[in-house]
C-alpha cells in the first residue's frame, strides 16, 4: 500500500525509487511521471500526467516523447539536456532538475522537471511538478505545441468509444452493473463484499484525489488542501454528485470529538442494492465503495490516514446513508460496534467516547 507521506510533491518523493513502483502506485502520485528509454520513447506514463496533458496513456506509450507527443520540448533546454544526460551514462549525475514551460494548444504549464537515472537499465524518469497553469502563449508556433489526443489518433475508431470533455475515455456504468457485481459476490464469496468494495473505493479515491488536484490547479493554481474547507467540501460533493453517486453533505458538529459525519442522500449503491430476503445475505450497508473513496480523498487532503465507514444505510431501512470519518487508529472501536449489529451515528459516537484516545499510528 502506498504510504500517504509519499503522495507529496517531488521534493519529498524518493525519485530514485520510481522504477520500483507499480503503475497503480505511480497513478496515485499528485505529479507527472514519465519513463523514457535512451531514445526518448515513452515506456510509462502516469495518471496525473495523462490528466494534465489530456492524452490517453495507451496512445502515448511507445511514441517518441520529443518528436511526437511534446514537440515543445525539442529544445536544448529539455531534449538537449536529456541527450547529454543519457550520453553521460553511469558516470553522470543520478538526477538533474530544471524549470520548463509546456506549451499545449489548450494552455501553458509552468513546471519543475526532475530527470532521473535508475540503475543500469536504459530507462530514465521525468518527474514533472506543475506549478502554474496559464492561457496559451501566442508567440509559440503551432507546430511546436504539444499534441492533442486527436492529433495522436486522427483515425480513431469512434464507434464504441465515449470521451469526456478532457478527452478521457469512459464507459457508461449503469446501476444494474453494480447490483450484478454485488449479486456475484454474494454468490461466490459473500463475506468478502465489504473488504472488496471498500478497497476498490480507496483505490478509486486515490485516483479521484489526483483528478481533483488537477482540476483545482487548472482553475486557480492552488492545491486542494490550500482551499477553504467549505470549498473542498463542495468540490468533493460535486465530484460524487456529478457522477450520479448521490449527494454528500458534510456535518462538522462532532469535529471536537474527532469525528466527521458525511450523509449521503440518494445513494446509487443503496438504491440498487438487492433487497434483503428472509435467510438471504445481509444488505444493510451498501455504500462501502463511496466510503472508501471518501477516505482516500480526505486522507489526501488531511495528509494523514483516515478511515470512512458507513454506519447506517437506506438499503438497510435507515432514513439516510451515514458515513463516519475518523482517524484510522480508532478503527477497532467502530468495527466492534458494527460487528455487534449496532447501527447509526449515535451508537458509533457513544462507542468512541468510551474508547481510550489512541496513539497515532501513521501519518
Amino acid at each position: 500500500m502506498l504510504d500517504l507521506a509519499e503522495t507529496a510533491p517531488p521534493s519529498t518523493f524518493n525519485s530514485l525509487s520510481a522504477d520500483e513502483r507499480s503503475d497503480a502506485e505511480l497513478d496515485a502520485l499528485p505529479f507527472g511521471v514519465i519513463a523514457l528509454d535512451g531514445e526518448g520513447v515513452i515506456l510509462r506514463y502516469n495518471l496525473y500526467e495523462s490528466r494534465l496533458a489530456r492524452l490517453d496513456r495507451n496512445q502515448v506509450i511507445g511514441r517518441s516523447f520529443f518528436a511526437e507527443v511534446a514537440p515543445c520540448t525539442r529544445t536544448e533546454q529539455f531534449e538537449g539536456r536529456f541527450r547529454a544526460f543519457v550520453a553521460a551514462g553511469s558516470e553522470g549525475h543520478k538526477a538533474e532538475r530544471f524549470d520548463f514551460v509546456f506549451d499545449f494548444k489548450f494552455g501553458a504549464q509552468d513546471v519543475g522537471v526532475e530527470l532521473v537515472r535508475v540503475g543500469s537499465a536504459d530507462r530514465y524518469y521525468l518527474l514533472i511538478n506543475r506549478r502554474r497553469v496559464a492561457a496559451p502563449r501566442p508567440a509559440i508556433p503551432v507546430e511546436q505545441l504539444a499534441a492533442l489526443q486527436r492529433d495522436l489518433a486522427p483515425g480513431e475508431e469512434r464507434r464504441g468509444v465515449l470521451r469526456d470533455e478532457l478527452e478521457r475515455r469512459f464507459v457508461d456504468a449503469p446501476a444494474p452493473l453494480f447490483a450484478a457485481l454485488r449479486a456475484t459476490c454474494d454468490r461466490l464469496a459473500p463475506e468478502t463484499w465489504q473488504v472488496f468494495s471498500t478497497e476498490w473505493g480507496v483505490q478509486w479515491g486515490r485516483r479521484a484525489a489526483v483528478d481533483l488536484e488537477a482540476q483545482v490547479l487548472e482553475s486557480g493554481n492552488r492545491s486542494l488542501r490550500e482551499l477553504p474547507m467549505r470549498e473542498v467540501s463542495r468540490i468533493v460533493a460535486s465530484y460524487l454528485a456529478e457522477r450520479g453517486w448521490g449527494l454528500p453533505a458534510f456535518d462538522f458538529s462532532a469535529t471536537v470529538e474527532g469525528i466527521l459525519l458525511v450523509e449521503l442522500s440518494r445513494s446509487a449503491l443503496a438504491e440498487s442494492a438487492p433487497r434483503r430476503l428472509e435467510g438471504g445475505p445481509r444488505t444493510d450497508l451498501a455504500c462501502h465503495l463511496v466510503a472508501g473513496c471518501l477516505s482516500a480523498i480526505l486522507s489526501s487532503v488531511a495528509g494523514r490516514r483516515l478511515l470512512a465507514r458507513e454506519v447506517e444505510c437506506v438499503a438497510g431501512g435507515a432514513e439516510r446513508c451515514s458515513i463516519v470519518v475518523i482517524g484510522h487508529e480508532r478503527r477497532a472501536a467502530v468495527d466492534a460496534v458494527l460487528h455487534a449489529g449496532d447501527r447509526g451515528f449515535e451508537a458509533i459516537r457513544m462507542a468512541l467516547r468510551r474508547a481510550p484516545r489512541m496513539a497515532e499510528s501513521s501519518r
Binding site: 467549505r230 463542495r234 454528500p248 458534510f250 471536537v256 483516515l306 482517524g327 487508529e329 481510550p356
Partner: protein
C-alpha cells in the same frame, strides 16, 4: 436494416459522442461549523481535528481508562 441499426449508424457517422457532466447544484453541503471555521484552509481545518480522539478529562475517567490513555 432495422430501425435500431439505422439509428446507431447515423449517430456514429458524426463526431464522437462526448459527455459534458451535468452541473449539479451543490450550493451548501456543510453544516455544524461556523462560517469562520469553514473559511480556514482545509489542511489547517483537518489538522486541528483530534483524529485519535479528544484528550480525556482526568477528573471524569476511572483510573484504568486514564492509565490506558497515558
Amino acid at each position: 436494416m432495422s430501425a435500431t441499426e439505422g439509428a446507431v449508424g447515423e449517430r456514429d457517422a458524426g463526431a464522437p459522442r462526448r459527455r459534458r457532466r451535468v452541473a449539479v447544484v451543490v450550493a451548501e453541503v456543510t453544516r455544524g461549523a461556523s462560517e469562520e471555521a469553514l473559511e480556514r484552509p482545509a489542511e489547517e481545518f483537518l489538522e486541528a481535528m483530534p483524529w485519535q480522539g479528544p484528550s480525556p478529562d482526568p477528573d471524569g475517567l476511572d483510573a484504568m481508562t486514564f492509565l490506558t490513555w497515558l
